[in-house]
């Protein structure tokens, strides 16, 4: 299948006088990780909301290839279809794990929720799947009945990832997935994510201001400034040989380890 999984054409969104996104187009293929980088206020998160269907664009459209192979404009989906998609074929990893988890429900319940939402009615099977996923994201299976409030920041983030991947989605949106974690925890999480993306052939849209995270996880990248994409291309090319002056500034501002 040579059609892109998701393709955005001419996306624009204004908030009052501020143009948060201006005429943005890109294609995303299955198994490909796309990073959207830029400083705070550059429109990264707005763009993510536009392609995840949480915001309606003023101009342009997003086409998504459904599981039956037919590309459809996101705007034409009914609310039931869009929510169904978000529950099964998509994942959303928030920076703040508390937004993506049910904090008062056990880890097993958090992971099992999507399975129950798509009709899983066998407790034993749901629990087995939850255990399997806990182990996959490097959390001890014995913690299955503990609520995420008892988890560390890194564990919460990994639990959030497990909760999203349990229905085997094809596309995962990530909003600063490593933000707020200390360096060693970040490194483990990135390692885990890299493995999962490769194993499952996930398409990923990753929003980050951290160029190191983008370099590790993504194949291609968009550099945004004031609502516009000023540079795009393969991640290594953009980071090693930045063309736009702003990108050069961004790359040179990173401290070499």
């Amino acid at each position: 299948m040579n059609l892109p999984l998701l393709s955005a054409r001419g996306l624009s969104k204004r908030f009052g006088a501020i143009a948060a996104c201006r005429d943005i187009s890109f294609d995303l293929y299955e198994g490909e990780a796309l990073a959207i980088v830029g400083e705070s206020g550059s429109g990264k998160s707005t763009l993510l909301s536009l392609i995840a269907g949480a915001l309606q664009p003023e101009a342009g459209e997003v086409m998504y290839r459904m599981r039956d192979g037919a590309p459809r404009p996101l705007a034409s989906l009914s609310e039931a279809e869009r929510r169904g998609l978000a529950r099964t074929d998509w994942g959303f990893v928030h920076q703040d794990a508390a937004r993506g988890l049910r904090m008062n429900v056990s880890a097993g319940g958090n992971i099992g929720e999507r399975l129950m939402a798509v009709g899983g009615r066998h407790y034993g099977n749901i629990r087995a799947a939850a255990e399997e996923w806990l182990v996959r994201v490097e959390i001890a299976a014995s913690r299955i009945d503990d609520p995420p409030t008892t988890y560390s920041g890194g564990m919460r983030q990994r639990l959030q990832i497990a909760r999203n991947l349990v229905t085997r989605p094809r596309l995962v949106f990530m909003d600063e997935p490593t933000g707020g974690l200390d360096v060693s925890v970040q490194a483990r999480l990135l390692d885990l994510l890299r493995g999962l993306i490769a194993d499952m052939g996930l398409a990923v849209v990753l929003v980050t201001h951290d160029l190191a995270v983008a370099r590790l996880l993504s194949h291609r990248m968009l550099v945004m400034k004031q609502g516009e994409v000023i540079e795009s291309g393969l991640t290594d090319r953009v980071l090693d040989d930045p063309q736009a002056p702003y990108t050069q500034l961004l790359v040179s501002s990173v401290l070499a380890a």
Binding site: E79, A80, R83, G112, E113, A117, Y123, G124, I126
Partner: protein, 287 residues
Amino acid sequence: MSARAYNFAYLDEQTKRMIRRAILKAIAIPGYQVPFASREMPMPYGWGTGGVQVTAAIIGPNDVLKVIDQGADDTTNAVSIRAFFAKTADVATTTDTAEATVIQTRHRFPETPLTSDQVLVYQVPIPEPLRFLEPRETETRTMHALAEYGVMHVKLYEDIARHGHIATTYAYPARVADRYIMDPSPIPKFDNPKLDNCPALQLFGAGREKRIYAVPPYTRVVSLDFEDHPFERTKFDAACEFCGSTESFLDEVVIDDKGGRMFVCSDTDYCQKRQAKSQGASEERRP
């Protein structure tokens, strides 16, 4: 004060019409929560303001009213509501389940099977079964509209994970007519199977939350469960100390400070009838 000081059944006619419209809509869409303009009643929220408004809207001069609270006819709440309608609607009241045409209830379904001539009115504190997991009203309405009920099972999952079995014993969620999921009010789950295919009309009124919903006669009501953890009715190891019933829902009563306990029927009318019957039988035997 004479009953003349009030309109029939306390509420004004416009209000009763408004409530009846909500009731008709609720019957047309089994299990769907219909919003209504709940009125202030001369009793505090939590004492059955929803149930009283539903009863006031459907009761007629020829009706016979029974009111139960936790199965009992003689508790404050039950006595007051019976007296309220005896005064404002001048209707006959009874404690006999079979004799009543309208039964208002809090926390129980009578043990005596109901017939198609009867209406059961439930007092409901929190009508929204999804509230435990989703605090936003806009979101729960969308979930009902799209029949997104996966989260209901998350609650049952948590029960099994924590207690090894489904530990929810009251307000046990059920699916009505294969569509809406409903909170059957805080009745014990022991009573849930009685809602299924019941010949009587069942109306649910939540006064503070301003919602009315209904289960029409002979409607399918299925309690939620897992394939490997099916719904189970509460079972008791004891029999009622007064009437010896092993079929009814029992209350555990502490009788001293040395750990003494006894089990008695929660449905007082059912229990008294059985006692009278066995007494009558033993008296017949005596001569």
